[in-house]
Symmetry: C2
Subunit: 328 residues, 2 copies
């Protein structure tokens, strides 16, 4: 920066101003400085800048995985929104890691991000304390928590599970099963299951028929195995709601293998509307989730807060949508 300043015949602070608030510098001076920046190929050091200005122009996000098209679009929406407003994304994934969310949060915070995006869920007291101490905007995505830590951008998993189950009821199904969620660590799957159970009760359709054997690694295989178990136990089942589209895909394979006609004898509904849900065979009936929009909204919430926008909304409910295709 000193080199640039020298070449332009100004002081370093003027160079800084040209870069950060060009309008505060006289056009001639500005041009001279910009020429010097170009000539020297100067790249500012944001680390030094951040230390000095106490803002990092960086937002951290922690997701469990990018695989399976689940959080990928959310991360993408977030990254794009941040970039458009001059911020960068610091990404942490927790998959296959013994490191607790707590640990990941601590690591992220040590970079002094201007905000943090998390998937909603239970956070430990220690995690909550760290977040509070950091004093930065925090957005939980992929659900509307009952007691949000700070802000949230998501949809109601309970309502979504209830809605798709009601949809199955409306299409004449009476013996509806559930597979593939509600295991430990899948809080959102559990919420969907809760919605499913509620809908059953409201329709007077008896007890839930749920299988959630999580000993199988792949979601698709899990879907196949779980459907098999469910049909063995409740052979007259006429519809299933799967906790995710990949589980539904596995269930469809298993149904084909067993010669169970879909949707005639068994309706299959998924969850997520993943990229190819409409592009194989009869198409998967599912619940569309605003993945990308949640990321974008999370970015906006953080940046608005940072700007000190007045009358801030804290919870953004982006809803969901039932997409009917051939499988149910």
């Amino acid at each position: 920066m000193q080199d640039v300043a020298r070449l332009a015949g100004v002081s370093t602070i003027t160079v800084s101003r040209v870069l950060r608030q060009p309008e505060k510098v006289k056009p001639e001076t500005r041009d001279r400085v910009q020429a010097a920046v170009q000539a020297l190929g100067y790249v500012p050091d944001l680390i030094a800048g951040s230390l000095s200005s106490r803002e990092s122009r960086q937002v951290a996000a922690i997701v469990s995985t990018l695989a399976g098209s689940i959080f990928a679009s959310t991360v993408e929406g977030l990254a794009q929104t941040l970039r458009e407003q001059g911020h960068q994304l610091l990404l942490g994934t927790s998959e296959y890691s013994a490191a607790s969310e707590e640990q990941l949060i601590a690591t992220a915070l040590s970079r002094r991000p201007d905000g943090l995006v998390l998937t909603s869920g239970d956070h430990t007291p220690r995690a909550r304390r760290m977040l509070a101490d950091a004093g930065i905007p925090v957005v939980e995505v992929w659900d509307i928590p009952e007691a949000p830590f700070d802000m949230a951008a998501g949809f109601s998993n309970v309502e979504a599970g209830r809605a798709i189950t009601q949809f199955l009821v409306e299409t004449g199904r009476r013996r509806i099963g559930f597979i593939g969620g509600q295991h430990e660590g899948d809080q959102r799957g559990r919420l969907r299951h809760q919605g499913y159970a509620t809908a059953l009760k409201e329709a007077g359709l008896g007890e839930p028929r749920s299988i959630a054997d999580s000993t199988i690694v792949s979601m698709v295989e899990r879907g196949a195995r779980n459907l098999a178990m469910l049909m063995d136990r409740w052979p007259d089942t006429d519809a299933i709601f799967c906790a995710s589209d990949s589980v539904a895909l596995g269930a469809l394979s298993e149904a084909r293998r067993r010669g169970i006609a879909v949707p005639e004898r068994l309706a299959v509904a998924g969850f997520g509307d993943f990229e190819f849900a409409g592009d194989f065979g009869l198409g998967l009936t599912t619940v569309r989730i605003p993945g990308r929009a949640m990321g974008a909204a999370a970015g906006r919430l953080i940046l608005d807060r940072k700007r000190g926008a007045p009358g801030m909304v804290k919870i953004v409910d982006l809803g969901f949508e039932i997409v009917r295709r051939g499988s149910a």
Copy 2:
């Protein structure tokens, strides 16, 4: 840090040492400092640390998109490898953005990352200069460039295109088409096409039959449209190689629509082995790409270099694999 030092009755530099090189501090002192860190809930400031130590323990990656399961696993593999070795990922996506790769590189470099991961391709002279000036390890992924900028972790797209085409030839196909790649901006698709054309020539099978209408947004739709165009123009085509699995998925739909039997009358091969390639209908014959491994290798190359590992490998060829399923 001063608070911690005071509470532990040591100087700040000792606190720093306990955190970064615990073995250099006497156990008793160390315990006292660690207790103080706990008591105060101290979170070190990596920004200040980076400024001082001139290493950021952060690696930047720039990919075009996380959608479509293309780069997601690579990013995940990278993030995991970095995390395991105490580094963090700074992620930039270029999608839908007018900002050039150049701009993204400049932004990433301003954080002084310890390394940079890029998808291979043409980089502008200015970009190359910035990379050179930064003096950090750079890894190109998703191809083995002829003239790598620095290091590379990938596979040969040309060879992969050649191999799958040869496979189709070996299974008795003689009039083999290509759809969905080779348009502007898809350098790797072009390389696969080149391999395809080479294989045709080697087998004496005449001129390429290629369609690459890139005016359609979705890859799946593009596959459908392109297959339609190809079959209209060369009705006797008996096999196609699709530049990606999503294109292949679209082609399969279109074939179904037209009553073209797959694989009897038309063999369909994809590229990528995306997550669900084996899970719909007859299963997609495709080329499996080591997505996650490329990310992990890229991380290792950068961290090894940083450590000054001797006799460094600069190019890691992770190969590819033909996966035969029902479609070809």
